[in-house]
């Protein structure tokens, strides 16, 4: 039992930290330090910088353009990105469809899609949920009918996050209408920009951002060669991808950043002749959250160490999703409360009234209510624990 890093790993951390210090453009750094919300162009710029360095896809195998780092180095790299407040890259290509294609794609598909995911020249979005298929994802109804070399798609996807910026969408559609509903699902890749019959409608989140979108399909033709895996075999892939997603979206490192940010806000919040950070009630609440965060971080370490030994994250990753996102929300709640009256403000409040570093807090606080919902709601995660680990009987 050992939780220390080797001298080589410590040296690696230093190297990463120093590079991040030098490589991050001044404008991005300034925004990062003030908790700002990044523009699309800024995220794209940062993507290119990582790509040119060769550090864009630490989780991919080396032969596909990954870094060849072991799990610990990947973890250190991830921690340093968060520590530097680097813009978060879109997970849909690098974190989701990329690894899926590496595992299940044909050689032709890999050659066609992987290089442009790495370079950032093609941006992806996810087409899973539908208005009537949320937690009950397998009930999805977007239908795909075979016609010559194509499928013809009709129906609707929703929560296609940032679909308005995407070039491609990976989606689940229904090709089989008999038997178990899980058995008639197929995984397809569609050119969302250039396919006639696909329409994207972005809509506002409560965070005031256009993160959400719905995507409509009306007689949209998708070539059969863009199918990943066998027809009616998409559910296996959907599950593989969701399991992977759970370990990504717990936001463990981000929560640490939020707690630190809440402290910074408290230091700047005047109370009488001192600051909120001197207030014992605030300090105890922050301490409780910080300790909870240490517990989740340690759980994350354990998952990581197991992965290092080649054990895949199983249903235990549900723990990280549940507690990770709950901690993340609690941290945003702490930051909001720390702001006091400033928490009345919004993205467009007059700058005289709201300091720059507090400007994005309310937006994030609102948007991150989604954290306990997306990627399989935390209630669904509890069902997964019950079914896969506790093996409790069905109702």
């Amino acid at each position: 039992m050992d939780m220390s890093f080797t001298p080589e790993e410590i040296a690696f951390r230093e190297e990463v930290r120093q590079w991040l210090q030098e490589a991050m453009p001044a404008a991005i750094r300034r925004k990062a330090d003030n908790g700002g919300v990044f523009e699309r162009a800024e995220t794209a710029e940062w993507h290119k910088i990582l790509y040119q360095k060769g550090w864009i896809a630490p989780n991919w195998p080396k032969e596909c353009g990954g870094t060849g780092w072991d799990v610990t180095r990947r973890f250190i790299f991830g921690e340093e990105l968060v520590r530097a407040n680097a813009p978060e890259l879109s997970p849909f290509g690098l974190g989701m469809v990329g690894p899926l294609l590496i595992q299940y794609g044909t050689d032709e598909q890999k050659q066609r899609f992987l290089p442009k995911i790495l370079s950032g020249d093609e941006v992806w979005c996810q087409g899973y949920s539908e208005p009537n298929a949320g937690s009950d994802l397998a009930s999805l109804q977007l239908r795909a009918d075979k016609d010559g070399d194509d499928y013809i798609l009709n129906g609707q996807k929703t929560w296609t996050t940032y679909a308005q910026y995407a070039d491609w969408i990976f989606l689940l559609c229904r090709t089989g209408f008999e038997g178990r509903k899980q058995e008639g699902i197929t995984f397809l890749l569609a050119d969302i920009r250039n396919t006639e019959g696909i329409t994207v409608n972005p809509f506002l989140t409560t965070g005031g951002t256009l993160a959400f979108a719905e995507t409509w399909f009306q007689d949209a033709r998708v070539p059969q060669r863009n199918r990943v895996g066998p027809e009616n075999g998409g559910w296996t892939m959907a599950k593989a991808l969701l399991g992977h997603e759970r370990t990504l979206i717990g936001g463990v490192a981000e929560s640490g950043r939020w707690i630190a940010f809440a402290k910074r806000i408290a230091r700047g919040t005047k109370v009488g002749t001192g600051s909120l950070f001197d207030d014992p009630t605030f300090r105890r609440r922050t301490a409780r959250l910080e300790m909870r965060h240490r517990a989740v971080t340690m759980a994350n370490y354990r998952t990581l160490a197991a992965a290092q030994l080649g054990r895949a994250p199983g249903a235990e990753s549900s723990i990280l999703k549940i507690v990770g996102t709950e901690t993340q929300q609690a941290a945003t709640e702490l930051a909001m409360d720390a702001m006091g009256h400033d928490a009345l403000g919004w993205l467009d409040s007059a700058p005289e009234a709201l300091p720059e570093h507090e400007r994005g807090v309310a937006s994030q606080f609102n948007y991150l209510r989604a954290a306990t919902i997306y990627g399989g709601s935390n209630e669904i995660q509890r069902n997964i624990i019950n079914k896969a680990i506790l093996r409790l009987p069905n109702a």
Binding site: M1, M3, G256, A260, A295, A305, R382, N386, L392
Partner: protein, 387 residues
């Protein structure tokens, strides 16, 4: 980073688990809780023969040069059977102090027989007014010539009723709350002027109320430096807290498993009650808190060996809070899900519940550790992602 057990560690865990299953299941504790002593000397001797009492002490002292983690693994298994032998007070607290701060003579005299299971030890530090403040000490040690005279009272001394020797914190200088001026002494249980009153605990274990009336202690029984006893005491109590997290983990795991089994077996409305989603989600939350208790117990067991007191304190406090809050959720939920029979003395779950509640309050409760955590200098610093 690697949290897998070594081959040797796995062997110890298997051996202790087998011992608990065969020789010390909960029924044994059930019988012992009605006896005056509360635990059995022959069993303690066997634990000594197996080497379990010396795992973490240096070889030169008769131990096996292991780390705290090795003791934690043993404690977790002992917890699963509610084994009442005084591992925490004797090995972790007093044994740890004598091993680290004792002279060669003290080690020879007090530690060696304890490692062999021939004797047991205790640590007397708490007083009626002290709550969890370790520097709050009214017991006085007055020096005259080559000896000290101890006067005062210590409460809730774990294993104080049966220990052969007791490490006692007393004030050699300063006022009640001063950090300076505390000194540790090793006092023989049969010292003249020492009165021991047996005090039974809620958990069925035994403690003692110790009264010191002009107890004479030779100068060579001073443990560590005179007047500088607070740091060693803090060190020992942190190890006690980490040990409580380790033993508590065994009890929480046991309660969790028993509860899940009961949910599958107990029928109401014609179906197993584990098929109801309200109960399923509570069970999932119990699983989560149990796993977080495991994570933080490991964290504390590793970090309690850290030479940096700030590191040690932060992680021990985080673990103790998880035990006392997350662990509490598991123990309370377990009773709730068992329903009425969970509150009967006949059912073992109540025994685990009581022991856990005692551990929750020992070595600082959750509020105490939250308070301590935000007073650490590191709380002021920006939280780094690598922390």
């Amino acid at each position: 980073m690697n949290f897998d057990l070594s081959e040797e560690q796995q062997m110890i865990v298997d051996a202790v688990a087998k011992f608990v299953a065969n020789d010390s299941p909960v029924e044994r504790f059930r019988k012992l809780r009605d006896t005056e002593r509360g635990w059995e000397a022959p069993m303690w001797e066997r634990m000594g023969e197996y080497g379990w009492l010396g795992v973490a002490f240096p070889e030169a002292q008769g131990g096996f040069s292991g780390r705290f983690v090795d003791m934690a693994l043993i404690l977790e298994q002992l917890g699963r059977g509610l084994v009442p032998e005084p591992y925490i007070p004797s090995v972790v607290l007093a044994g740890g102090l004598i091993s680290r701060f004792g002279t060669a003579e003290q080690v020879e005299r007090y530690l060696a027989p304890m490692i062999e299971g021939q004797a047991s030890l205790a640590l007397a530090y708490a007083e009626r007014q002290s709550r969890y403040n370790l520097s709050d000490c009214l017991t006085r040690a007055t020096k005259s010539g080559g000896a000290y005279t101890l006067d005062g009272e210590k409460v809730w001394v774990l294993n104080g009723h049966a220990a052969d020797s007791i490490v006692v914190a007393a004030r050699t200088s300063g006022e009640q709350l001063d950090a300076e001026g505390l000194t540790l002494f090793v006092v023989d249980a049969d010292a003249r002027g020492l009165t021991r009153t047996l005090v039974k605990g809620m958990d069925g274990q035994r403690t003692a109320l110790l009264r010191f009336d002009a107890v004479e202690v030779d100068a060579e029984r001073v443990l560590g430096d005179e007047g500088r006893g607070l740091e060693p005491l803090e060190w020992a109590i942190d190890r006690g807290a980490a040990a409580a997290c380790a033993e508590g983990l065994g009890e929480i795991q046991e309660l969790f498993e028993r509860t899940v089994a009961y949910l599958k077996e107990r029928q109401q409305f014609g179906v197993p009650i584990g098929s109801f989603q309200a109960l399923q989600h509570r069970a999932a939350d119990m699983f989560i808190e149990t796993e977080l208790c495991r994570s933080t117990a490991i964290l504390a067991a590793i970090q309690v060996d850290s030479e940096d007191p700030a590191e040690r304190k932060a992680d021990v406090s985080a673990a103790k809070v998880q035990l006392s809050r997350g662990g509490w959720f598991v123990q309370a939920s377990s009773i709730q899900l068992f329903g009425g029979i969970g509150v009967t003395d006949e059912q073992d779950e109540g025994l685990f519940f009581k022991r856990l509640r005692v551990l929750n309050g020992l070595f600082g409760d959750a509020d105490h550790h939250v308070d301590r955590f935000h007073r650490l200098p590191r709380f002021e610093a920006e939280l780094r992602a690598s922390d």
